[in-house]
Symmetry: none
Subunit: 284 residues, 2 copies
Amino acid sequence: MNILEKISLDMAEFSKSEKKVAEVILANPQVAIHSSIAALAKMSNVSEPTVNRFCRRLDTKGYPDFKLHLAQSLANGTPYVNRHVDEFDGPSEYTNKIFESTMAALEVARQSVDIAMVNRVVDLLTQAKKISFFGLGASASVCHDAVNKFFRFNVPVVHFDDILMQRMSCMNSREGEVVIFISHTGRTKSLVDVANIARENDATVIGITTEGSPLSKACNYVLSLSVPEDTDLYMPMASRIAQLTLIDVLATGFTLRRGNKFRENLKRVKDTLRNSRFNRQENN
Amino acid sequence: MNILEKISLDMAEFSKSEKKVAEVILANPQVAIHSSIAALAKMSNVSEPTVNRFCRRLDTKGYPDFKLHLAQSLANGTPYVNRHVDEFDGPSEYTNKIFESTMAALEVARQSVDIAMVNRVVDLLTQAKKISFFGLGASASVCHDAVNKFFRFNVPVVHFDDILMQRMSCMNSREGEVVIFISHTGRTKSLVDVANIARENDATVIGITTEGSPLSKACNYVLSLSVPEDTDLYMPMASRIAQLTLIDVLATGFTLRRGNKFRENLKRVKDTLRNSRFNRQENN
DNA sequence: AAATATTTGTAATTTTACTACATTTGTAGT
DNA sequence: ACTACAAATGTAGTAAAATTACAAATATTT
């Protein structure tokens, strides 16, 4: 396992001084691998043995061995870890932390995606007579985006923010229609209600939500995403990005299934938009 | 560059003893990274300084530095790159490619962000009497999301999909109000028109768009994002994710600027949502 | 074959990491 | 509030590792 992730994961188990070391390393791992134990100890304001103990706590043989692991983590292409923003961060720190946390979350999400389920859902979507996307709050904008994508496919696709419209829409659903519900927690009551209505009316109900949630139980198929949500700032951030990316995956799967001729069609849709735009100087 | 490749490439330039060292390393690099210079010298039947010289010939600082490079080569990580989906990809391939391309795009975006401008925009937002978000098509859902975030801050924030409503809203804007326009290309005519109206009415106009685009010229401030857009499938994907992440950055900067007491407030907003949810079994 | 250049090794030096032990800090019980 | 114990951190000494300077050996050139 990536040792950088492990450090941020084990953060709770570290002692006060060990945390100092961890923070210095996470803040700038590139510097850490090129420092001696003495230099790192000084940077962290701790003694050398503390650094050594820190390394051993991470199941390495000692400091040199730790550096080796660290170097491998950095080479791995993912120096991205869920780094929490704190109140003393300047613009440079919080900007980088948020981008990196988002990338880290995407990596975790990628590994948690059930590929077989993606394939099945793409199957269902290509055969659907109608596709609906429902979500509330932050997930509503994900639905909005999904509609924007699937609309280009010339498929009947709908979305309502309004909970009553959602209910009515599901009430009228029938076999062969697919309804996708998006919710990170999967515990929004009214959305679960709507999902149940859709299911009672024989629609194929798909959830993009957390495994085992109330919403997931109301669905025929669940595409679960595990994302380490950053709760520090009380806002959904990474979960939403992961959902959007998953929508991109579904849309891509959809176009691939439809074949080459279909992609010509997509190009036409895009060309249509061209007239609403200023031309570029460069040809493209 | 991968140092293992470099070793086999430079083989011709090595002296007799250095070749011995190179062969031992190539034969079993995993062992090499866990050996001391003395052990490796013994394995290669050469003296310690010879190993040291061998390392320097490969443009490393010395033996420990060489081991670091070697470890990174062995980590064999495929850094995230923009991998294009092709028509023969199965679900596993396209899923991973899309996640990886998205991560790669975020990395590029992160490096292209103008931190000073982020700081200035956060400044403007905290002082704004009203904040508006306008975008069309795929960018509309980004606006939707931005509103969802900033609304929690108890700031007057508005968003319209409707181009006429956007015009009217900007017509009535005044000094001290901030209008943010989101568009990847920055070449959507009607949006540029609206931006000009906003500017004529003394609003502070901010663009999240490509540098040098028509839209960027209509703005007082531009937050440019360079994203390698995947044009294969004729859909905006990565650009949108980058925009959303940038919105997250702005929202985070906003909350940090407002201080601790303000974050208590955010927690209250979140707690309010709790009543609309099914409770979790675990306490949280 | 002698002279020079290049490579390689030996031994001393310096740097680095580790261990044992002492001190401090924190915690629980009287 | 104090004592006793446990956990944590640091100090100083020791061991190990890497590097340097220099000497010996091996090629190379004339």
